[in-house]
């Protein structure tokens, strides 16, 4: 596989665009189809493609294992943290309305703005956990039983 020029060149061309598309799917999730789940899988797929073409060792240099394993709980923490933040701001758990105190009189809030930020942050949490988990599973499965890992 490593000597296959066409695959290597095509993968090098594709991978940045796949990651870009993943980010597009994520950030555009408010307007079109998509969101954290799909984007996380797409970004993970780009790295899996890199690992298949260039070998697992190269992928591990680009995206080290500790980073991937850190991402798994980090996403849940981001998501749950948004809930805690909304409680600190005086609302119920995961009530995005109160996330941002935009109005001048104390106690008012900008519900629409808060909703945008709440959904955005929560989706980032989803993205991080999904990408991390997919890559963790892939790294665990791929190359098992081979001594040259």
């Amino acid at each position: 596989m490593r000597l296959d020029v066409i695959l290597r060149v095509a993968a090098k061309l594709f991978i940045p665009f796949i990651i870009m598309f993943g980010l597009y799917v994520h950030l555009h999730g408010d307007f079109g189809p998509g969101g954290g789940f799909q984007a996380g899988v797409i970004i993970a797929a780009a790295i899996v493609l890199y690992a298949i073409i260039f070998g697992k060792a190269a992928a591990l240099r680009a995206v080290p294992k500790w980073a991937v394993e850190l991402m798994v709980p980090l996403g849940v923490l981001i998501y749950a943290g948004v809930g805690v933040w909304s409680m600190i701001m005086g609302g119920e758990y995961l009530n995005y309305n109160v996330l941002l105190h935009a109005g001048e009189p104390v106690g008012t809030y900008d519900a629409i703005h808060g909703q945008h930020w709440g959904v955005f942050l929560v989706e980032i949490g989803v993205l991080v956990t999904v990408t991390g988990t997919m890559l963790t599973i892939f790294y665990s499965f791929a190359g098992r039983g081979r001594p040259d890992e």
Partner: protein, 169 residues
């Protein structure tokens, strides 16, 4: 209808073939067909998930698992009469259950009149997010999505615990 026929054909193919590599490829094709069915039903978000998870990542994962095992399925050791009877009975019960379901896409059923209609009516005023699916997932049903993320988190932790080679790092 064409899609469903193809789905049935692929299912028969998966059952008939003994070559596991062919089974993996056919499962990927099955997922893509399922994604097409979702697009026909206007469930673009679900179609996207099905195409990326079902056809993309799971195919790769199953292939890398296949690397560790043999490529041909062993001939069955037991008769398949009992499993066949069980699945036929289950299928018959499910089909019997569909007789009590409302016809597909009828407007005055609870699924279309209860909270779903409320979300669609109030969504733009309350959240200003044009994609209702995202608004429901992340905002109205935030707790559920938190649960889903926790499920994925648990799956990742489980795989790590089972497959990580402790001590070798």
């Amino acid at each position: 209808m064409v899609l469903l026929t193809l789905l049935a054909a692929i299912t028969v193919g998966i059952i008939r073939t003994r070559n596991l590599f062919a089974v993996v490829v056919l499962s990927g094709a099955y997922s893509f067909l399922m994604a097409s069915v979702m697009i026909v039903l206007d469930g673009i978000d679900v179609a996207m998930t099905e195409a990326s998870v079902g056809a993309g990542i799971s195919t790769v994962l199953v292939l890398s698992a296949l690397y560790l095992t043999k490529i041909h399925e062993a001939p069955p050791r037991y008769s398949s009469a009992l499993p066949f009877a069980a699945s036929a009975g289950m299928g018959a019960m499910l089909i019997y259950g569909t007789y009590d379901l409302p016809p597909f896409g009828v407007a005055d059923q609870p699924v279309n009149t209860h909270v779903g209609a409320q979300y669609i009516a109030n969504n733009m005023a309350e959240t200003d997010i044009p994609n209702v699916v995202t608004a429901v997932l992340a905002s109205y049903r935030g707790f559920d999505t938190l649960g889903e993320v926790t499920v994925i988190f648990t799956a990742g932790i489980g795989v790590m615990l089972l497959l990580k080679r402790w001590g070798q790092a």
